[in-house]
């Protein structure tokens, strides 16, 4: 099958996740946000965290479960069992300390 470049780009875009990192986690990773193509084997938050831990270094130490990280999908706090899909905005951060 032969797709024009514009169609490939549009297909890619629909498979993208927007990732956000805040506070201590943002500083540890040195990144505040990125766009990521939804990895084929990832369907929930826990899976995405395992995927990110696979990057090694600070990613591994932050996402390997040894550090308490909260997640939000589309700006709603979720448990790590929450499913994710293309186009979601997914944020990771330490326990909140406002007020």
């Amino acid at each position: 099958m032969h797709l024009p470049a514009s169609a490939v780009r549009s297909l890619m875009l629909t498979l993208m996740l927007k990732l956000l990192y805040f506070a201590r986690l943002r500083e540890a990773l040195g990144v505040s946000n990125e766009h990521l193509v939804l990895p084929a084997n990832v369907s929930d938050v826990a899976g995405l965290m395992a995927h990110l831990a696979g990057r090694g270094g600070a990613w591994q130490s932050q996402f390997d479960g040894s550090t308490l990280i909260r997640a939000a999908v589309n700006q709603v706090l979720v448990a790590s069992s929450a499913t994710i899909q293309a186009d979601d905005e997914i944020a990771f951060f330490p326990p909140v300390t406002g007020g």
């Binding site: 956000l20 805040f22 506070a23 201590r24 939000a72 700006q75 709603v76 706090l77 944020a91 951060f93 330490p94 326990p95 909140v96 300390t97 406002g98 007020g99």
Partner: protein, 149 residues
């Protein structure tokens, strides 16, 4: 109503505006949080509040909606500042208006307990010995858990 802002706010004017919004209000419960000059034994020079724009407002509006649904109150206001603050600066205000005091007190405390554990704000302190992120307190989780029973 929910406001997330860098600027300071006039607590007296906000309270007056809430309490004068309807003539059947009998009770106004208010919480005001300010930056302490000391935390966990270290002197605090300044405090920087980071937040998650968009989610912050959504989370606070959801907390207010839960309070209005759960108690017989008329309205609730939350103002939370972000950015860099100094000791004695106002950080947060919650004002709840209703007919009677018990519901207003409970709803105000509920909103604060949920805000502390559910709204995406993070504090970083500059102390005499450098910068540090404020740690979440288990006491805040316990305070929130009271309302889930």
């Amino acid at each position: 109503m929910v406001k997330v802002q860098h600027e300071d706010f006039d607590a007296g004017a906000e309270i007056a505006s809430m309490r004068l919004s309807r003539p059947d209000i009998g009770a106004v419960a208010v919480f005001l949080g300010q930056v302490r000059d000391i935390n966990d034994g270290s002197s605090v020079v300044k405090l920087t509040l980071e937040h998650y724009p968009g989610m912050t407002e959504k989370a606070l509006e959801d907390i207010v909606a839960q309070a209005v649904k759960r108690w017989h109150i008329f309205d609730a206001l939350v103002i939370h500042r972000v950015g860099t603050l100094q000791p004695m600066d106002q950080v947060v205000m919650v004002a709840v208006v209703g007919a009677h005091r018990a519901a207003a007190f409970d709803a105000c405390e509920f909103i604060m307990d949920y805000l502390k554990t559910q709204a995406p704000f993070w504090k970083k302190e500059l102390t005499g010995s450098g910068e540090r992120w404020v740690e979440a307190r288990e006491s805040d989780n316990l305070a929130k858990a009271r309302w889930d029973q």
